[in-house]
């Protein structure tokens, strides 16, 4: 038994050492990261044109701060992303806990209908939001933008939290009650710590979805609440200025830091959980 296991392991190791698999992996990574590398490289370019690299400069990192339109859009994006992530994480977690806890009529219908915002084309969803807001005479502003973002990102939170809860033993909750905890303490002391990794990854999903959304934002943002993706989109006609590259580079660095820290936190939670 042991011998065959060993030879099997050796074989699988050999496949890993196949030189072609290394080449293939490199190609995949080049394909994935080339565009990002280009953006970072051109953010240091002295030329205004994103075509040839003429010389190295930090100028764009300074000038971008005085580009008020760009900065305003960036600020809007951060506000919308932050608020909508908080709201959708809160609502989505409550929804998941409720769906896990209670049995009621039409439960499967309700839980399936949560997937609709995920499944339908984003354009259809965006137009639906637009029609809804205009039909009740709400003009587009920051609030409509946030509501729309919460609507499409909440189902993702529900899904991640529910999948985290799926394997849980219901008697853990009963044990907490049995030991004297009321509903609130059962939630804060037992359920929440157990689902924390799911809540965190749901929040990360909601955040990234909100940060780079174009389609829904295009229809539901007001003139005073243009987000960064919309701003860049409108700049495309005249040519994207290099300070956008500089800002993008900063955003990439920020995202990587965020990703690393959440992974670390999640690993810690998993170890505890």
């Amino acid at each position: 038994m042991k011998e065959t296991e060993k030879t099997f392991l050796k074989k699988s190791r050999k496949i890993k050492n196949n030189p072609w698999s290394v080449v293939y992996a490199c190609l995949v990574y080049i394909f994935l990261y080339m565009p990002i590398a280009v953006v970072i490289a051109f953010s240091f370019n002295t030329s205004r044109m994103n075509v040839v690299f003429e010389g190295f400069t930090f100028d764009w990192y300074i000038s971008m701060w005085s580009n008020t339109l760009l900065m305003q859009a960036f600020k809007n994006t951060l506000i919308v992303a932050f608020v909508s992530t908080l709201l959708s994480t809160f609502l989505g977690t409550l929804c998941a806990v409720g769906l896990n806890r209670f049995e009621f009529k039409l439960k499967s219908l309700i839980s399936t209908s949560l997937y609709i915002p995920i499944v339908i084309p984003e354009l259809v969803f965006a137009i639906a939001m637009l029609i809804l807001f205009t039909s009740v005479n709400i003009s587009m502003n920051m609030a409509t933008l946030i509501i729309s973002h919460v609507t499409f990102s909440m189902p993702f939170v529900v899904i991640t939290v529910r999948s985290r809860m799926a394997g849980f033993d219901k008697s853990i909750e009963e044990a907490a009650h049995d030991l004297g905890a009321n509903e609130l303490h059962t939630f804060t002391r037992v359920i929440l710590p157990m689902i924390a990794p799911g809540v965190l990854s749901g929040a990360m999903l909601a955040l990234t979805l909100s940060l780079d959304d174009v389609v829904v934002s295009f229809f539901t943002a007001g003139p005073d609440s243009q987000t960064l993706p919309l701003r860049i989109l409108s700049m495309v006609k005249k040519g994207v200025s290099p300070d956008v590259n500089a800002l993008s580079t900063l955003i990439i660095i920020g995202s990587v830091l965020l990703l690393v820290s959440t992974t670390l936190i999640q690993n810690k939670l998993e170890k505890e959980g």
């Binding site: 033993d169 853990i172 044990a175 030991l179 004297g180 710590p193 505890e272």
Partner: protein, 384 residues
């Protein structure tokens, strides 16, 4: 019934799920400090009964009294009982100490006292050195100790245990059975223990309540339940047994001569008339085989198999009617060869008459109608 300290009283408790009665008219008094086991096969209503005492589910009708107070409507956290769950139900994100301290933190006990009581508990269940371990880093037996400590630290009046040893291997289970029993004797807390393992029930309990299809068929000490089963089900579920249908042929003092399909037999019993149909139960260890007929007996059969099971040899004897009779004997005894014809007999005092459930229900109906008649008579007199 009333004189001894009754700590839990179930009075005609019933539970219905979707129109199906899983517990039927259950009345049971649990005395303070006793180790009571609810024994029965899966689906007999034993766990449901336990959950109703704990407060996880409400009785459809009837009343449950804890320390003389009706607890219907009280939530689990408002009842002075604690539960040990089958799959431990430990809080996975807390270490051993925090798990055990959970109930005390809820009660807002001062920190210093919590620390002291937790370490006391850890010593009691022999988990010293594992205080900082998480449930995922422990074995099944260790987890169960944490679960027991966590429930006991609240000093409950009654500890409810729902098949707590079900997930452990045989050897560990046997060891934990003894430990639990000793723990119960040491602490003097009432234990209500649910199991489907009759051997476990016999080993640990002061009293056993045998349940079958929602009905409590018998309650008594392990000795009573094993040696004097009242129903066919109890006889067949608790220990191995041979249940035989027979008719009374003649009565000779307290010796009853009976006819089985396979032949004649005899047993000690009183109060039965000729031609009455009775079910008798004979334990395998009481069945004897011989090559020559024995007085009062004429049952013949053929030895078909010997199974060596360590401390006993289990023999199967096929009667002329095709029924298989289980026989158990000591490995050092002489054993009749397989295929040989033998006579089957037992000491008349070793066979027990077991009533069927139908008979018991009939008795209950008879008693209640009698009671009703009496009450009606009473009312008539009052009117006069």
């Amino acid at each position: 019934m009333n004189s001894e300290n009754v700590i839990v009283r179930l009075n005609e408790v019933e539970k219905e799920f979707d129109g199906v009665k899983v517990v039927k008219k259950l009345s049971l008094d649990i005395k303070e400090g006793e180790f009571l086991t609810l024994l029965g096969p899966s689906g007999c209503g034993k766990t449901t009964t336990l959950r109703m005492i704990a407060g996880f589910s409400e009785a459809t009708s009837g009343e449950i009294m804890l320390e003389g107070v009706d607890v219907s409507g009280l939530k689990p956290n408002e009842r002075n009982v604690n539960t040990v769950f089958q799959n431990y139900a430990l809080f996975p994100h807390m270490n051993v100490e925090d798990n055990i301290a959970f109930g005390l933190v809820e009660k807002k006990v001062p920190k210093a006292e919590i620390k002291e009581r937790v370490s006391e508990m850890i010593k009691l269940v022999q988990l010293e050195g594992l205080e900082k371990r998480k449930p995922a880093q422990m074995s099944g037996g260790q987890k169960q100790r944490v679960a027991i400590a966590r429930a006991l630290i609240n000093k409950p009046r009654v500890l409810l245990l729902d098949e707590p040893l079900g997930a452990l291997d045989l050897k560990l289970r046997k060891q934990m059975q003894l430990e639990l029993k000793h723990l119960q004797q040491k602490l003097g807390i009432t234990f209500v223990y649910v199991t489907h393992d009759q051997e476990e029930a016999l080993t640990m309990s002061d009293r056993i309540a045998v349940m079958h299809e929602g009905v409590m068929e018998q309650i008594g000490t392990p000795d009573e339940v094993y040696n004097h089963p009242k129903t066919k089900f109890v006889a067949s579920f608790v220990g191995e047994s041979n249940i035989l249908e027979s008719y009374v042929r003649s009565v000779d003092g307290d010796l009853l001569h009976i006819d089985l399909e396979a032949g004649k037999a005899a047993l000690h019993a009183k109060g039965f008339g000729v031609e009455e149909m009775i079910y008798i139960c004979v334990r395998p260890e009481n069945v004897k085989l011989s090559e020559t007929p024995v007085e009062h007996f004429s049952i013949r059969g053929k030895v078909i198999e010997h199974i060596f099971a360590g401390s006993v040899v289990k023999t199967e004897v096929e009667l002329l009617t095709g029924q298989i009779l289980k026989v158990a004997s000591h490995p050092n005894d002489d054993h009749v060869e397989v295929g040989k014809r033998v006579y089957v007999h037992w000491r008349p005092k070793d066979a027990i008459i077991v009533h069927t459930v139908e008979e018991q229900i009939y008795n209950v109906i008879e008693q209640t109608t009698e009671k009703l008649y009496k009450e009606m008579e009473g009312v008539d007199e009052g009117e006069d």
